[in-house]
């Protein structure tokens, strides 16, 4: 009798407490020019959260996503991030794509001592104690990419990029690297975002005949550039694109060029059980024709890392989670995702893929192991980089 009474009492105590969901904030562009790129990332976050909830949630609570639209506008991003933290009281933020947005949201999360997961490969030179960078730093993508290109095609390099912070900074790093390792820049050109005016560049490339073109163009300028190359009979021009992932390659027909390569940490076409499972789950959830890419994978991995850190911290507060977060590692679709506590970036593989006609990559080269993240490439000290950035030229 006593046993029964005690059991009933304990069961009641456990089940009487209503289960509050853990809120997480997602701030990505659902409208505007960036929406096409960012929406798949929101889907990836949904997938990760659904998987977590299907396994019983976190700390016995379900996870609930609050998605807000950044409208491709950095001011809106900052305002919405603030609102998610102050009003929605979310435990963590996932979001941003462009460096501009990240730089606007950064002071907000720092002010509130909150936590943001940033999923995109970027130009580096940044390290906030309240941001975890799950995309590649320059030393994990751009630098080894250029080194591979030079070893494969030659030292005469042509730089082409969109005119904004990422290509400018990336090319600065490339130029510095080329200088140190004996490469030569035969041409450098920037197009305004969204511009299709590629004719002069094509003529320049045709005339200078570089060993390889390093492409940091963003958005649909790529479509104009690729088709102009073909029109000019430059199908065989070696070309390495740093900012076009699978869906862009498909949409802008990068696969028509015969020596076209992409440099990423993750390709949808990667073998391995973990990636097969991820691609299958994503396509089962959002449609068999959907394509995943490096940022999509990085967004997905971010949620999983956060969840594991929450379990370790036994808390959903940004503070404790931020400290357990730095010691996390998980098995991810791109390999092992492991947090580097010093830089708050992930150890990342660097992979080169040849663009296939269907926009997918066929891996032709990969680093022998995951690369240690270095937001400031180590061959200069941070002060020297700062000076360089301000001067704009090595």
């Amino acid at each position: 009798m006593g046993v029964v009474l005690i059991t009933v009492f304990i069961v009641c105590r456990y089940y009487a407490i209503p289960v509050q969901p853990i809120k997480i904030g997602v701030v990505h562009s659902l409208t505007g020019t960036m929406a096409v790129s960012e929406k798949p990332l929101v889907d990836a976050i949904h997938l990760a959260v659904e998987e977590i909830n299907n396994q019983g949630g976190l700390l016995g609570q379900p996870v609930e996503i609050v998605v807000v639209d950044g409208q491709s506008n950095s001011a809106v991003f900052a305002r919405e991030a603030e609102r998610l933290i102050e009003q929605e009281r979310v435990s963590v933020l996932f979001g941003c794509w462009t460096s501009d947005c990240r730089k606007k949201v950064k002071p907000v999360v720092e002010k509130h001592r909150h936590l943001l997961f940033y999923p995109v490969q970027y130009e580096g030179m940044e390290q906030s104690p309240h941001i975890l960078y799950t995309g590649s730093a320059p030393n994990q993508q751009v630098v080894p990419g250029v080194r591979w290109a030079m070893q494969t095609f030659g030292r005469r390099v042509y730089l082409l990029g969109s005119d904004y912070v990422f290509p400018r900074t990336a090319n600065l790093i490339i130029a510095d690297f080329l200088y140190a390792s004996g490469g030569e820049i035969v041409g450098e050109h920037y197009l305004p975002l969204g511009s299709n005016d590629v004719q002069a560049i094509i003529q320049d490339i045709a005339q200078k005949k570089p060993d390889v073109v390093l492409n940091t163009l963003n958005g649909d300028s790529n479509a104009a550039f690729f088709s102009a190359l073909i029109k000019a009979g430059l199908n065989n021009q070696p070309l390495v694109s740093f900012s076009v992932e699978e869906s862009g390659m498909l949409a802008w027909q990068g696969g028509q060029l015969t020596r076209h390569y992409g440099v990423w940490s993750y390709f949808q076409s990667l073998p391995g059980e973990e990636n097969q499972r991820f691609v299958a789950a994503y396509q089962a959830r959002f449609g068999a024709d959907r394509v995943v890419s490096d940022p999509v994978e990085a967004a997905y991995v971010g949620v999983k890392l956060w969840a594991q850190a929450v379990q370790d911290a036994n808390s959903i507060e940004p503070g404790p989670v931020n400290s357990t977060l730095l010691r996390q590692s998980i098995k991810s679709p791109s390999g092992i995702a492991s947090v580097d506590a010093d830089t708050r970036h992930l150890w990342k593989m660097m992979r080169v893929g040849k663009v296939r006609p269907d926009g997918q990559f066929k891996q032709v080269f990969a680093s022998s192991a995951a690369l240690r993240p270095q937001p400031w490439p180590t061959y200069r000290n941070r002060g020297a980089w700062q000076t360089l950035l301000e001067r704009g030229r090595p």
């Binding site: 006593g2 004996g182 594991q308 010691r327 492991s338 506590a341």
Partner: protein, 920 residues
């Protein structure tokens, strides 16, 4: 406390029983304690693992910093530059060597190497075999050092290698940190630090906070094996030697950690020992790390507590058991004594008394029991006396019952279904004629007495009553040993227990032989009577059938006779017409009169035949009517026109009185026939210069009445009922007037067939009024009147035509030959049989074929089918000329494919008109 009472004793028992809930509670608390302890231990290990990982990472990072700093050092740049320029200054190099050596000793490295931009190892502290070789082309080009060197030059970034056996260092495992060396922003070579693995082991081997059985295990992947890189507690000398295949069932946490896993839990270690552990992945060295403690140590307090708890509980339970046993025995003893006493008393020893023992409740119980036994003893003696008295009463009642049953010839029985005892009263023995002294009452004896044919039925009735739980009654026979039959009626009912099983059955048996015999005699009488009635009924039915057959035969006869009469009439009428119309040999006036008389008589006869035929048809139910809306005044006017010669002859005035258009639903032809009949009667039986008033009115309820009012002599009232009967003519005075005597009868049948009625009112000397009533037709259904074009013109044909007539009757053939002969451009072929006709048709391809239906051998329909099937003759129009004049015959003919269908007697005008149409 007075323990001689039960309540205190029971309380003591409950007290002793309480260890059970206590055990439950202990279980619960132990569980909670285990959970908490496990949680605590896991968290402790988790933070230890984090701390250890931090330590290793910090150590590695420091080495990276060292390499970067040394690569920036003047010494490194200088040595490489000097070698590059081939201007090595031995004195200066000795200074640098001294600098590097000091540093190595302070920080603790194994060796330091400098490699120039071309891969030559130009400097080494230990001067091992690698000095002076080229890392791009030399023997050590595939070592981890060589790879790290190339990466550092290419990526301009500091590299750290995985631990691997290094040949120049006597094959011992080595880890290198390699940093590029710059001069003026360009890379001129690399500096490599070979780590002292003993120092690293000191960091990793730290067991602070891990207790007695704790350890930190480190391993890396080597091929498809897990290679342990540190010392192991259970495996001596394990570093860089002990391996476990990947996928092996031991060392699960390490295998997880090596693929990026991060976690904690209770599992098994590399030797299968049960452990509590936390595991981490160290990306810099690509090592997996497991921090673990043996379960036995981690949960020692729990196991201790569990042991104490269970021992205590077991002892408590044992004590409680023993106490309960002793207590129970003390309690049970007086009860046993009481039970023994009770059994003896029950066995009849009423003098026995229960002993007074045990607790006071039991003593009271024994006392009460003894009092009860005394009471019982007294009552038992009293009871015996009463039983004797009642037995006497019962035997008297039994005697009376037996007498009553004997008189009533009713026996009764009772069957105890539990023990199978059957009791019969004397009367049953009497009925079954059994000697009570010789036969015991039994179900077998009862069954044997029953007539063998009835046994199953009796059995079934009884079983059925047991199933349905209802009473039963059955009358059956008994077969006496001497062959006599007795009838008895049995009634029975059964009692059932709660489960529905029968317990006992009771019933009566009554002799009903006398009753049964009377009943059977009565039944026999009744059967005989019924048979006779049936015989009579059959006779009557036969007589009715006979009459029906006779009536049918009459109608059939009339029908056949009329048909047979029509064929000769055809000849008569035809030739009479020919005589009249023959222009070449005109008749004399006298002859013409005679021929007219023939035709008149012929027509009369034909009418008579037609009417008889109609009547026969109606009686045999073969009259087909085609109902349509008929505009009555128009029809009356038409009839008046047809009868004009007759009215002129008798100077009779016909008047039509109509109000508007009245339309009735009728068969047009038949209605015309009726009207003609009534109108001609009104004329014929009128006086000269009389008049006939015809009125047509809608009389409400959708009916139209047509009345013909004549000014004749009228009809006597007693004659009226006979008017509409066939072959009845009223007065001999009318003998001079032509009439078939069936006109009115036929009219009545026809009008009734059309759903109408006919009647007559008459006043002798004033006149008669005949009326008919018909349903009014819906005006919308009225079809547009179509003009009849009956005008026959004597025609000539542009070209010569050939006709073929197939006919077996010579008179008919001659008639047609005669008609055709008046047209010179027509030639006629003739055939007597179908076969002959077909041959002629094939040979001559006539323009038109006329065909009789009733031919000997192949009939008209067969001939037509052959004609249509043959491509030569299929286009020739074929008309039927037949005495089969019924409407269905005509329909059948047209359906078979005849172009047209003419009936005999042949209407010459119509025939000629048809020829005209078909040949033009």
């Amino acid at each position: 406390m007075n323990l001689s009472k039960i309540i205190p004793r029971l309380m003591l028992g409950f007290l002793l029983l309480s260890p059970l809930p206590l055990a439950g509670l202990a279980c619960l608390y132990l569980q909670a304690f285990e959970n908490t302890l496990q949680q605590l231990e896991l968290e402790k290990l988790s933070s230890l693992a984090d701390k250890r990982a931090d330590q290793i990472n910090t150590y590695v990072n420091e080495r990276l910093m060292d390499a970067r700093l040394l690569a920036k050092s003047f010494a490194a740049v200088n040595v490489l530059q000097a070698h590059g320029n081939k201007q090595a200054d031995p004195a200066q190099e000795q200074d640098h060597r001294d600098y590097f050596h000091t540093l190595l000793e302070i920080v603790g490295y194994y060796d330091l190497l400098l490699i120039d931009a071309d891969g030559n190892v130009v400097f080494s502290i230990l001067h091992e075999a690698d000095l002076g070789t080229n890392l791009n082309t030399g023997p050590y080009r595939d070592t981890v050092l060589a790879n790290a060197y190339r990466e550092s030059i290419a990526l301009l970034d500091t590299q750290i290698t995985q631990a691997q056996a290094y040949a120049p260092s006597a094959g011992k495992p080595a880890i290198f940190v390699v940093a590029p060396v710059f001069k003026d922003g360009k890379v001129i070579g690399s500096l490599a630090l070979q780590m002292d693995l003993d120092k690293l082991a000191a960091v990793t081997g730290d067991t602070t906070g891990l207790g007695r059985t704790g350890e930190t295990v480190l391993a890396q992947i080597d091929g498809n094996q897990v290679l342990y890189v540190g010392a192991l507690r259970h495996i001596p000398d394990a570093a860089f030697r002990y391996r476990v295949p990947l996928g092996d069932k031991v060392a699960k946490p390490m295998q997880s950690a090596l693929f990026g896993g991060h976690g904690k839990g209770i599992t098994h270690d590399y030797v299968g020992q049960k452990i509590i552990c936390a595991w981490r992945y160290l990306p810099a060295l690509r090592w997996g790390m497991v921090v673990k403690i043996d379960n036995a140590e981690a949960f020692a307090p729990l196991y201790q507590l569990q042991k104490i708890t269970w021992v205590t509980l077991t002892v408590l339970l044992l004590l409680a058991g023993i106490a309960a046993l002793l207590m129970g025995r003390a309690l049970v003893l007086p009860i046993r004594q009481l039970i023994a006493a009770t059994r003896q008393i029950a066995a009849g020893e009423l003098e026995r008394r229960a002993p007074l023992a045990g607790c006071s409740e039991f003593q009271q119980l024994a006392l009460a029991f003894n009092t009860m036994t005394e009471q019982l003893q007294f009552q038992y003696q009293n009871l015996e006396r009463q039983v004797e008295q009642r037995t006497a009463e019962i035997s008297l009642a039994m005697k009376q019952l037996n007498e009553a049953q004997y008189i009533a010839q009713v026996g009764s029985w009772e069957l105890d279904l539990i023990n199978g005892v059957l009791i019969w009263t004397d009367e049953v023995f009497h009925l079954f004629e059994l000697d009570k002294a010789k036969f015991a009452a039994s179900y077998e004896a009862f069954l044997n007495a029953i007539h063998p044919e009835d046994r199953d039925a009796v059995n079934a009735a009884y079983r059925h009553s047991l199933q349905t739980q209802e009473s039963y009654e059955i009358t059956h026979r008994l077969l006496m040993p001497d062959g006599r039959i007795k009838y008895v009626t049995e009634r029975g009912v059964s009692c059932f227990n709660a489960a529905g099983e029968p317990i006992r059955s009771v019933g009566t048996v009554q002799d009903v032989t006398l009753l049964k015999q009377t009943e059977m005699a009565l039944k026999q009488l009744n059967d005989e009577l019924e048979e006779r009635v049936q015989q009579r009924t059959e006779l009557l039915y036969q007589a009715k059938e006979e009459a029906d057959r006779a009536n049918g035969a009459k109608s059939e006869f009339l029908s056949r006779m009329s048909h047979e009469l029509r064929t000769p009439m055809n000849a008569i009428m035809g030739f009479a017409q020919l005589l009249e119309t023959d222009d070449e040999t005109p008749l004399t006036l006298d002859q013409a009169d005679n021929v007219a008389e023939i035709r008149h008589a012929g027509r009369h006869l034909l009418e008579l035949i037609n009417e008889i035929l109609d009547l026969a048809r109606i009686e045999t139910g073969r009259l087909a009517l085609s109902m349509e809306p008929v505009e009555v005044p128009l029809l009356i006017t038409e009839c008046m026109g047809l009868l004009q010669p007759l009215t002129l002859e008798r100077s009779i005035e016909l008047m039509l009185d109509k109000d508007g258009v009245s339309t009735v639903q009728a068969d047009r032809l038949r209605l015309r026939q009726i009207l003609l009949n009534l109108l001609s009667n009104a004329i014929k039986y009128n006086c000269d210069k009389g008049r006939v008033l015809i009125s047509c009115r809608v009389i409400g309820s959708g009916r139209v009445r047509i009345a013909l009012c004549d000014s004749g002599r009228g009809i006597a009232a007693d004659a009226l009922p006979r008017l509409f009967k066939p072959f009845e003519r009223i007065e001999s005075a009318y003998d001079g007037i032509e009439g078939t005597g069936i006109g009115l009868a036929l009219s009545k049948r026809l009008i009734e067939a059309m759903g109408g009625s006919i009647g007559v009112e008459s006043v002798v000397g004033t006149g008669s009024t005949f009326w008919i009533e018909l349903a009014e037709a819906n005006i919308e259904d009225y079809p547009p009147a179509h003009a009849d074009s009956d005008t026959v013109t004597q025609s000539t044909y542009a070209t010569a035509r050939t006709l073929l007539y197939i006919e077996d009757n010579p008179a008919n053939l001659r008639l047609v030959q005669k008609i055709i002969s008046t047209h010179t451009e027509l030639s006629l072929l003739d055939a007597r049989t179908g076969e002959e006709g077909l041959k002629l048709a094939m040979a001559h391809h006539p323009d038109l074929i006329m065909l009789d239906i009733n031919l000997p051998g192949m009939n008209g329909f067969d001939v037509l089918r052959h004609l249509h099937e043959d491509p030569i003759t299929c286009d020739i129009p074929v008309i039927a000329i037949s005495a089969n004049a019924m409407e269905r015959d005509i329909k059948k003919g047209l359906a078979a494919g005849f172009t047209d269908y003419l009936t005999k007697p042949l209407d010459i005008q119509k025939f000629l008109a048809l020829l005209d149409t078909l040949l033009k």
